[in-house]
Symmetry: C2
Subunit: 339 residues, 2 copies
Amino acid sequence: MSLISKNMCMKSYPKGTPTPDNFTMTTTDVAPAGDGEITVRNHWMSVDPYMRGRMSGIRTYIDPFQLGEPMEGGAVGEIIHSGHPDYAVGDWVMTMLGWREIFTASVDSLKKIMLQKVDINLLPAQNYLGVGGMPGLTAYAGLYKVAGFKPGETVLVSGAAGAVGSIVCQLAKADGATVVGLAGSDEKCKWLESHGVDTAINYKTCENLTKALQKAAPRGFDVYFENVGGDMLKAALDTMKMFGRIAACGMISQYNNEKPVPGPDNLVMIVGKSLKIQGFIVSNYAQYVPEYLMKLGPLMASGQLVQQETVEQGIENAGTAFLRLFSGDKQGKMLVKLT
Amino acid sequence: MSLISKNMCMKSYPKGTPTPDNFTMTTTDVAPAGDGEITVRNHWMSVDPYMRGRMSGIRTYIDPFQLGEPMEGGAVGEIIHSGHPDYAVGDWVMTMLGWREIFTASVDSLKKIMLQKVDINLLPAQNYLGVGGMPGLTAYAGLYKVAGFKPGETVLVSGAAGAVGSIVCQLAKADGATVVGLAGSDEKCKWLESHGVDTAINYKTCENLTKALQKAAPRGFDVYFENVGGDMLKAALDTMKMFGRIAACGMISQYNNEKPVPGPDNLVMIVGKSLKIQGFIVSNYAQYVPEYLMKLGPLMASGQLVQQETVEQGIENAGTAFLRLFSGDKQGKMLVKLT
């Protein structure tokens, strides 16, 4: 008896902004788990900005997606066949074999990248792709470990309504920070302010970002959590305090550039203000998972931290979901529900 | 009996690159030291790139020079009158009252900025303005404390033939580094290679800086000591290793821009390679003076570290000396001999 899985594959590497034509669906027969294997039906899959880097055919810190093969990414699903004693039918697991409905793989090979049992009674399954997973740890590690945020400081967040940014804002607020968030629509700004952000600024309609930040935080920022780059980095450099720290998590404004775009014209501020800019990749901060979860539990229980999410339905729409990361037409964590 | 001092003053704040017209000479009568004061005849004065920041009328991390007043900066001189029991005629001191031949000031007011006795039998007097002073400490602090350089690493230095860069190169070489230096003339490159630098590159005649760096250090750089900014920062970002560290000491290529100039187009490398960029100002590293001098002594005694210098003669030429920092028409530490 075999199972049918629909999968989303890379048809061609995008030049500039990806389009639906860069994606193609395949249908495959999946054999049920043999010895040492598990078969998983994915219920949720994640699309994340970092995946753009895997769509170039060039190795960066991670291998490119192979053309014609199902892509990879975080997914949460239920085990429907098992040939491994540690994994039972009915267990839920998080793996990196997203962008497909069903797969069979050996436990050993899954563990090399990620294989984690998840308790869907503790958190809704999709939260393991957001606040309880990689974006949550990214927010925590970037804010506390990379930027060295201390309670009560003044924090600027770009991409503030995104999967990571929205968690950064809420974590900082829970620790008594003054938080200014940059987002791309009035609706996003409204959500941010209703969740405690002191000032949310719509950068698309703001005439002068530096002046707006100076008004929102007259004494400047101790910490900038960088998700966007470009003009937002420029305005942040203008308004950081002496000895300010910048956690560079991403620069989504740059990912689809067909030709490189010049950077901010005020980098000399790095010297004059003794600023620190530290890039980071969440996989190097896995040791902080327990510490983060200890922090997360009470904050979720008290409602101080919530997962904001936008959901596309069905594997057919996984490409569309991915494109929405760059158009900005979504709020919080972008997810695809596969069942 | 009064003394006559010629002084160099700021006549007008430069727009863009400073010109001789921005400077003017004055002659003043200096009263001999009264109670609690000393009178100093300066023998050497320093011109440094950071002074450009004080020529704008805008307060940065340091106050602007006042128009019509003698400028300030590091100087070494001999006490010729003293009204203070701790300072005797014939003692040599380093102060921040450069750009003038003779001055009288209270010991208390001098101490607020800098007043340090120097032993001219231990080091030539002018070395206290170079390898034994601020540029030396800048090199040491930037390399070891800011960039966290470890012996044997691969180091890139821009402004490598400058006052600070030339010391960075020699310190790193003495600790077994592979060192690549960027400088602006073949003559400078020759000096660097004759003092141990593995590869010195004339950036003015180099067609493709990134390729030249890749050739010089195929496995990339652990550390970049940044004195210049602009194209050199871009090439450095291209060629840093994962987790590379950049000590941002200065960006001299940017100081005379009349209009802001866009930055490098590859800042996204900061994220992808988990790079750290840390700006710094030497005055925040004064606690490392003893540690640095302990390191410096044996290196100078063994000839592993030498002060390269270019000297202008007389206070009349102090402005010219300053302009040579930006034209690049000098080697190593730029000094003015006043006696």
